[in-house]
């Protein structure tokens, strides 16, 4: 695939030029502009202007970078397999190590509400860092919170933090009181958790597994709240008597409509309406597994990382690429409940 200078207009969206040279672990749009931050297995974090299709900055790490997030439009944080949590400033190109874990850092999030960076690692801990402090791990670390297992995914909404670990554990924290989890839950899916994302309206979270399924959960533990929860199958292929079930690697919520997109190892991106329990759209198949998805702050763009996720080991695969597509309303807007032909 050519990282052509000219945008290739295709059903998949515009392909970003100068993509990373190895797999993409995550990508995120900024909350302030159409800047896209991309972390990769090629040990870099890159900043792109997605609309202009221009690479604006690149930061090297000591190992594959497994996650990244924006602080504001000028700086960001990264989680690397070299056990470090780094901060970098785009304009000056400066970077420094905010702190370390004992094992690869898998997730990083920045909470505006708490003004802290939160990281989850395979060392089975969650750490909170205060980026305003002077640099140096001893000054910035706010707290370390042990988890039952290796952390696989994190998501924040308002004051709530959801942590999904190996062994299907799910811990829900209130950032205002991290001494212990607000809720200790178990994933309602029977298979390994892949990704967890909170609803923009803060009432719950979506959790996906390696078994082609997504569970829609709610924070409200009352019966009324729990009665709304459900799960659905997706990203599966059925042919010749065999069902092939793909991991659902990524979930991204549309910031305005609250509908969400899921991306799986089958190369498809589906958009769902969680309230009406329907699929709204399916984009045409991407060249390889979908590793990450992100909607821009206005919901007009969707960045899709079509990047082989090694679900079948180290095999030859389509080149890893990032596609930025313009989102049409019909693809993401919930439809009012359909009425059958009205009786006269």
């Amino acid at each position: 695939m050519s990282a052509a200078v000219l945008p290739t207009s295709s059903g998949g969206g515009r392909e970003l030029s100068n993509p990373p040279s190895d797999g993409i672990s995550n990508l995120r749009f900024s909350n302030h502009s159409d800047h896209l931050l991309v972390s990769s297995w090629d040990k870099t974090v890159r900043l792109y202007d997605a609309s202009a299709n221009v690479l604006k900055g690149e930061f090297m790490h000591g190992g594959p970078v497994l996650d990244c997030c924006f602080h504001d439009d000028f700086s960001g944080f990264s989680a690397s397999a070299d056990n470090t949590v780094r901060r970098f400033v785009f304009g000056t190109g400066k970077e420094d190590i905010l702190g370390r874990h004992e094992a690869p850092v898998r997730c990083v999030e920045y909470s505006y509400a708490a003004g802290q960076v939160i990281t989850g690692s395979w060392d089975k801990t969650l750490k909170c860092w205060d980026p305003r402090g002077a640099s140096g791990p001893d000054r910035t670390l706010v707290g370390t919170y042990p988890q039952p297992e290796r952390v696989y995914s994190l998501s924040l909404v308002g004051h709530r933090l959801v942590v999904a670990t190996a062994g299907r554990h799910v811990n829900v924290y209130d950032l205002r009181n991290m001494s212990q989890p607000e809720q200790r839950r178990e994933s309602s899916l029977k298979y390994q958790t892949r990704c967890v994302r909170c609803y923009p309206n803060g009432t719950g979270f979506a959790l996906s597994s390696v078994e082609g399924r997504v569970a829609m959960e709610f924070f409200d533990l009352s019966e009324a709240g729990q009665s709304k929860k459900y799960a659905f199958k997706c990203h599966r292929k059925s042919e010749a008597g065999k069902d092939t079930v793909y991991p659902v690697n990524a979930i991204a919520f549309h910031p305005i409509y609250g509908t969400f997109a899921t991306g799986g190892c089958d190369g498809y991106v589906n958009v769902w309406d969680g309230n009406n329990k329907k699929r709204l759209y399916q984009y045409s198949k991407y060249p390889t597994s979908i590793a990450a998805l992100s909607f821009s702050r206005d919901g007009r763009l969707l960045a899709v990382a079509s990047s082989y996720t090694f679900e079948e080991g180290d095999t030859p695969h389509e080149p890893d690429a990032i596609f930025v597509r313009n989102v049409n309303e019909v693809e993401v807007k919930p439809k009012p409940k359909a009425l059958p032909a009205p009786p006269p």
């Binding site: 797999g23 672990s25 297995w41 000591g62 190992g63 594959p64 497994l66 397999a81 070299d82 056990n83 690869p104 898998r106 395979w122 290796r150 696989y152 190996a166 298979y191 390994q192 390696v210 078994e211 082609g212 459900y230 659905f232 199958k233 997706c234 990203h235 599966r236 292929k237 059925s238 042919e239 010749a240 008597g241 065999k242 069902d243 092939t244 079930v245 793909y246 991991p247 799986g264 190892c265 089958d266 498809y268 589906n270 329990k277 329907k278 699929r279 399916q282 198949k285 996720t309 090694f310 679900e311 079948e312 080991g313 409940k337 009425l339 059958p340 032909a341 009205p342 009786p343 006269p344």
Partner: protein, 372 residues
């Protein structure tokens, strides 16, 4: 989904004339499209039930069945699946592929016949196939010999049977879908006892589907393969299947929501190809039959198509293959363990150098060269 299907076309909806692979899907369709309350979306079991519900609960009068064709809108007529359809309408529907139905009828009867002679004409579908195996060979020579050996192969290959042998195969439409099923079953029997096996099987199967063997033959016909809905192995035919779902790969199923299906694919309304077949030969069935009578083109069954459905109906008997089945590790952890991703940070390097130096020192001490 192990019911016998009507020969000829598959089941269809009285209200809108859409066709479905099996009755269960048809009923789900009716409940979702015709028997659903437009106010609260509750699915009822009949049109009449729906109108009573709307009247009692929402105080509204429903006079027409939603999404129904103009002359099928009455809520008085009690339809459930294929039951309750007035005979004249039933006949009119099937009258469209009269030839096929006629053939079908004949198929059932002659099934006992060993073939040849009788078959070609009316049956086309089932019989010709049978004969090929056993009796026919003389007739279809060119085709036959080739096919036998090829059977075992195609099945293994899984779905894409090269269209080659059109072998009409026994029960046309329905049979094909089962492809996947058959290969497994048939391979052996096919190879070993073609003729005898076939013939006996023919006699057995009413609609002409002689249980396993023949079906395998059919596979080649329908390259499309059935996807989902592959019925349990045990039921040879009817498999509804074949939904061309191949196109859309990820069928999604929402608990309880039928709508997901409609999103994926195909407008099914393509209905029965059988109609087009009437002309006889439109298919790819190439005429391995060669010489043979045109029997069957149509009977073989609607070539591809298919319509609706599928995903939702996957029976639990489908084999499930998890692309990632390692419970202990995530994909990223496994990837990290690859040599190319090993992190060589300074500390680890320093550690190894330190270790090497320490070793040298202790060796020297032992050798007496250094003071402790």
């Amino acid at each position: 989904m192990g019911k016998k299907k009507k020969r000829t076309s598959k089941v269809w909806c009285y209200y809108c004339d859409r066709e479905f692979d099996d009755e269960k899907i048809l009923v789900q369709h009716q409940k979702a499209k015709h028997f659903k309350c437009h106010v609260c979306h509750k699915k009822l079991s009949t049109a009449g039930g729906m109108s009573i519900h709307v009247l009692q609960v929402h105080k509204e009068t429903v006079t027409k069945v939603p999404n129904a064709k103009p002359d099928r809108e009455s809520t008085d007529i009690e339809i459930f699946g294929m039951q309750g359809i007035p005979p004249e309408i039933l006949a009119a529907h099937y009258g469209e592929d009269e030839e096929t139905s006629a053939k079908v009828a004949k198929v059932e009867v002659p099934s006992n016949l060993p073939v040849s002679g009788v078959l070609p004409g009316p049956l086309g579908v089932g019989f010709p196939a049978a004969p090929t195996y056993g009796a026919v060979p003389p007739v279809y020579n060119p085709a036959l010999p080739m096919q036998r050996p090829s059977w075992p192969a195609p099945p293994r290959a899984q779905s894409w049977y090269p269209p080659q042998p059109p072998i009409p195969i026994p029960s046309a439409p329905t049979v094909l879908p089962p492809q996947p099923l058959f290969p497994i079953q048939n391979v052996t029997p096919l190879t070993s006892t073609t003729a005898p096996g076939l013939q006996s099987s023919f006699q057995v199967g009413p609609p002409g589907l002689p249980s396993s063997t023949p079906p395998s033959v059919s596979q080649p016909l329908f390259p499309i393969t059935s996807t989902s809905s592959i019925p349990a192995r045990s039921s040879p035919f009817l498999a509804s299947t074949l939904p061309a779902t191949i196109a859309s790969s990820s069928p999604t199923v929402y608990k309880g929501a039928a709508d997901m299906n409609s999103i994926s694919n195909t407008p099914a309304t393509s209905g029965y190809p059988a109609q087009s077949n009437q002309g006889g030969a439109p298919y790819t069935v190439s005429h391995m039959y060669a010489s043979g009578p045109n029997t069957g083109g149509p009977s073989i069954g609607p070539p591809p198509v298919i319509s609706n459905k599928g995903p939702a109906t996957q029976p639990a008997t489908n084999e499930v293959y998890l692309v990632w089945d390692d419970e202990a590790m995530s994909m990223e952890e496994r990837r990290m363990s690859l040599p190319k991703y090993q992190v060589h940070d300074e500390t680890s390097q320093m550690n190894s150098i330190d270790a090497a130096i320490d070793r040298r020192i202790s060796e020297s001490r032992l050798a007496g060269r250094m003071a402790f």
